[in-house]
């Protein structure tokens, strides 16, 4: 039987799926994490640092779900606070300054819905991030590795090349949230997941992503090494192509790409 959208949701959320730390360990030959937004905090739900991938020096940014219960709690399961998005922009500005590309790993249920998050401007931080990455003068490669949860995902998913793993999902709202509103029944999540078209092949057809990265048989959770190796290959190919483009042209092409979202049919 063909895989349903909800099967994909389950795979994308599988706790055994490789997370940011696994990808960094398997893809990068070194990684130096840098902390803090220089304003109030060091968010643990979104981390960043300079790294080497193959022969490329890059800035890595990514949602951090955490591997243990303690890490999960500390990182809010990868639900970033405004401080996380502001840290991401601070570090990306450094990458731009030193002419290094940015690679982002997207895996979040969504931006953190908390009191402090609202008070420190969750909406403003996401909005700024979208504006910021649309004009950043260095190549940006995005990999949606697990859950691409709405605005919290998009905030670090504006770039020149959008890669997405075969069993990842990317959606404007969680299937449960959508089912709760439009079906008035959270249990109808499988129907909502189908209707929302949130799988990598569907999103490729809709023009929301550029490339699907194949996963090992049964899913990335079965073989972290093989999954990471495919992601690494796709990142390096994307970087190689993007680095050839003069930066002004790159920004203009990025704009045209963003500008075209939604104009594919009708």
């Amino acid at each position: 039987m063909a895989k349903s959208a909800m099967d994909c949701v389950k795979l994308a959320r599988d706790p055994k799926r490789p997370h940011l730390k696994d990808f960094i360990k398997l893809i990068c030959s070194d990684f130096e994490e840098l902390h803090g937004d220089r304003l109030v905090n060091d968010d643990r739900g979104l981390v960043g640092g300079f790294a080497t991938i193959g022969s490329e020096k890059v800035l890595v940014l990514g949602h951090n779900k955490g591997a243990t219960v303690e890490e999960n709690m500390e990182a809010n399961f990868g639900m970033a606070n405004p401080d996380g998005y502001r840290k991401a922009m601070r570090l990306a500005k450094l990458a731009e300054k030193f002419h290094l590309p940015v690679v982002t790993f997207v895996d979040t249920p969504g931006a953190y819905p908390g009191r402090e998050a609202e008070e420190r401007g969750q909406a403003e931080a996401i909005a700024k991030s979208l504006e910021f990455f649309s004009r950043l003068k260095t190549p940006v490669v995005v990999v949606v590795t697990g859950e691409g949860g709405s605005g919290g995902a998009l905030a670090i998913a504006v770039g020149d090349k959008i890669l997405m793993m075969e069993n990842a999902i990317y959606s404007v709202i969680s299937p449960e949230g959508c089912a709760g509103i439009l079906w008035r029944d959270g249990a109808k999540a499988p129907e909502a997941a189908e209707a929302l078209k949130i799988t990598a092949p569907d999103l490729l057809k809709l023009g929301a992503i550029d490339e699907v990265v194949k996963e090992p048989a049964g899913g990335a959770q079965k073989n972290h090494k093989a999954a990471a190796s495919a992601v690494k290959k796709a990142i390096l190919a994307a970087l190689k192509a993007l680095k050839k483009i003069p930066v002004d042209e790159l920004i203009e092409k990025r704009y045209e790409k963003i500008r075209a979202y939604g104009n594919f049919y009708g």
């Binding site: 819905p113 609202e118 909406a123 605005g151 079906w183 979202y261 009708g266």
Partner: protein
Amino acid sequence: MSWFEPKAEKAKIPPAKALWAICPKCGSHFEKAVWKKNNAICPKCNYHGRLSARERIAQVADAGTFSEVFRAVSYSDHLAFHDATGPYKAKVEATIAKSGETESIVMGTAKIDGHPVMLGVMDFAFMGGSLGTGTGERIARACEQAIAENRPLVLFSASGGARMHEGILSLMQMAKTSAAIAKLKEAGLPYISVLTDPTTGGVSASYAMLGDINVTEPKALIGFAGRRVIENTIHQKLPDDFQSAEYLEKHGFIDKIVERSELKGFLAKMLGYWGF
């Protein structure tokens, strides 16, 4: 059957809803005519209620100066979306037929106290003011036209967020509108964002929060996540004024809360300071 006749008699008494306006903030009842005469502002608590896009345009644009653009840019049903109550297409077509609007934002060129602007006003009555592909396209085009004609951009937001019926492409409109606004700002043109009640979700997390200045009206609801979602996440009761205009101003995300009667003058004054 004469037994059923009295039904017609009953219908002569209008239901309470047709007579009374209830302030959603303080719960006070007013005659509808009073509410309307007071410009949808609560006479008791000064909550600034919702206006339609056309009502707002009439209040902000100089008489006879609003010239609508992009009316043909409407929704797209990329997903052939269908939920428990039927197809999205039927729902949005019914909204179009009922409202006479073709998207959740009405866009045009206008003058505000003589200052030429590109003016966009969202209408919460159109699918909850949701951000669809048509909405995003109109805003992106407005930025481009503003750049071509050297006009400042003024957007009034009123929205529950992205339109989930349009799936990922509605989410992508957050990126599209933000990118277009970034270009507008690079061109040195002003963008004033007026966040009206309510501005939440994907709209507050994109163009609505990106104004060179962000202004709002008394007691408007502005936020990212819904109150109930937050309460369920943190298991805490939130303060009553959480996500109100006043709360956001206190926390530094709003430049000014402006009374409706003074809004037009305020916009003109700011454009005047900046030489537009």
